[in-house]
Symmetry: D2
Subunit: 144 residues, 4 copies
Amino acid sequence: MMKLKPAEPDFVEMVKEKIGGNYFSIHIGINIHRIDVGEIEATIDLQGHHLQQMGYVHGGVTATFADVVSGFAAFTLAKRGQGIVTADLRVSYLNPGIGTKLYGKGWVIKAGSRMHFCEAEIWTIDENGKRTDVAKSSSTMVVV
Amino acid sequence: MMKLKPAEPDFVEMVKEKIGGNYFSIHIGINIHRIDVGEIEATIDLQGHHLQQMGYVHGGVTATFADVVSGFAAFTLAKRGQGIVTADLRVSYLNPGIGTKLYGKGWVIKAGSRMHFCEAEIWTIDENGKRTDVAKSSSTMVVV
Amino acid sequence: MMKLKPAEPDFVEMVKEKIGGNYFSIHIGINIHRIDVGEIEATIDLQGHHLQQMGYVHGGVTATFADVVSGFAAFTLAKRGQGIVTADLRVSYLNPGIGTKLYGKGWVIKAGSRMHFCEAEIWTIDENGKRTDVAKSSSTMVVV
Amino acid sequence: MMKLKPAEPDFVEMVKEKIGGNYFSIHIGINIHRIDVGEIEATIDLQGHHLQQMGYVHGGVTATFADVVSGFAAFTLAKRGQGIVTADLRVSYLNPGIGTKLYGKGWVIKAGSRMHFCEAEIWTIDENGKRTDVAKSSSTMVVV
C-alpha cells in the first residue's frame, strides 16, 4: 500500500462541499460517513426504488455507489480547483444485494499526477452481523 | 455479427412485463423505445437530479443506463422463467454528457446458453442534430 | 465515428520503426499488415506454444494481441517523441480460438490529447471462410 | 474473505499436471511456486523478449501472467474433469515493470458453482527489497 498525501490540508471540507453539488448522488441517497486521505466510506438506506425485478439492489445503484466512493476517494488528493472524472469503471457483481442498508468503501490503489487507479467494495450486513460482498469495482480516474 | 434467435415468440411482451418491475430503472426515467432480438434502444429525459457537480450527466446514470439496455437486450433471448443478471460491467466514459436527452442502445455481441456478452452505447444529440458519444460499455450477463 | 487526424504525416513509418523495438510483440509473432489513421490490422501464425491445455489459443496470446493492435492504433495519432502506454485493458473471451491463424484489428473509438479509448477484435477464419470472433477488447491508452 | 474449500483433496497435483499442458504459460516462463486453495503465486525471470520498446515489461506479459495465476487459482477449486476458461479479464497497469523478476499472485474473491471471480497482483522487487505494484487485475472465470 502506497502512502498517500493530500494536496490540501482542508481536503475533508473540500469533499463535503463537492458532495453538496453532486445531485444524482444525493438523489439516490448516498451518505458519506468517513473521509480519509484516499479513502471514503458511505451507506445507502435501501428503499423500494433501489431494487430490480427480483427484489435485489439494482446493478445501477451498485455501480453508481462504486463510482461515487471511488471518485471522492480520488478527490481527497486533489488540489484546489482540480476535479476528478471517471475514465473507466468496472464492476464485478459478486452476490445479490439484499437488505435494508448498502455499505460502500472506495480507495485509491495508485495515485498519479494525471490519473488515479481506485477500487471499491459494496456490501450488506444482515441482522446477525454477517457481511455479504455485493460487488467489487476498479476504476481509472482522471485529474482535470 | 451472429444471427440471434429469440427463445420465445412473445419476447417483446416478456420484456415489457419485466420492465414494469424494474423499479430503479423506472425511478431514473429510462424509457424503452425499441425491443428487437438481442437489441434494445431507450432514452432518458435529463433533469437536474441526473447531474454531477460540473453539470454533466452523472457517471452512475450512464452506468445504470448501459446496464439496463444491455441486460434487457440479453433478456430478449431468454426462455420463459429465465432471468438475466449482470456478472460484470465495464463503462468507458468518452465525453461529458450535456443536453436534455440521453440515448442508449444495448446489444448482444455473443449469445450462449449460460451467458451472453453485451455492449452498449450512450450518446446525446444536440440542437443541430450532432451526436456525441458519452460512453461505451461491455458486459457479461448470466442466465439464471 | 469521429474523424481522426494523424499528428505526423509519416505516422506509418513511425509505427513501423516502433514495432522493431517491441520485443515481446515480435517474440509471439505479431505481423502488422495494415496501418491506417487510428486503425491497425495484424495476424499471428499459430504454433503449439500459443496454445493452452485444451488446444485453444491461450488467453494471454489473445490479450497481448488486443493490447498490441490497440496500442499501435493509438500510436498512429502520436506526435514525434510521444509514446503510448496502456492504462487499462479489458478482454471479453467470446469463443475458443481454434485454427492456424489469428486475425486482429485495433482502433481508436475516442481520441484525446492525453488519452485515447480503443477497441480491438480478435478472430479466426476457417477453411470455408467462416469467421469466428475470439475476443473483443476495450482499453484506455495514455499519451506519455 | 470467504472460506474456500477444494472439491478434490489432490488439487495441488491436479494443478501441477494441468500446468504441464499450458504451452504458452511455459513458453513465457511462468514458474508456479505456491498452490493453495483458491490462491496461486508465481514468478517470471525477465528476459529481453518480455519487454516493449521503452524497456519495460510488455503489457501482454503482464496480462498473460494475471490470467494464468487467476485461472489456476480458480482451478484449485475444480472437480476432476472440470476445466476453467476466462470469460473476461481486466488489467489496470499501475507502474512500469522494471527489473529482473516479475512476481504474481492470483486469488478467488468469490467462488460459485458455475463461475468464479478472481483478482491478481503483479509486482517487482528491487535490489533494496522495495516492492512496486505493476498491475492489478480482476476476472470472471467460468467452470466448464
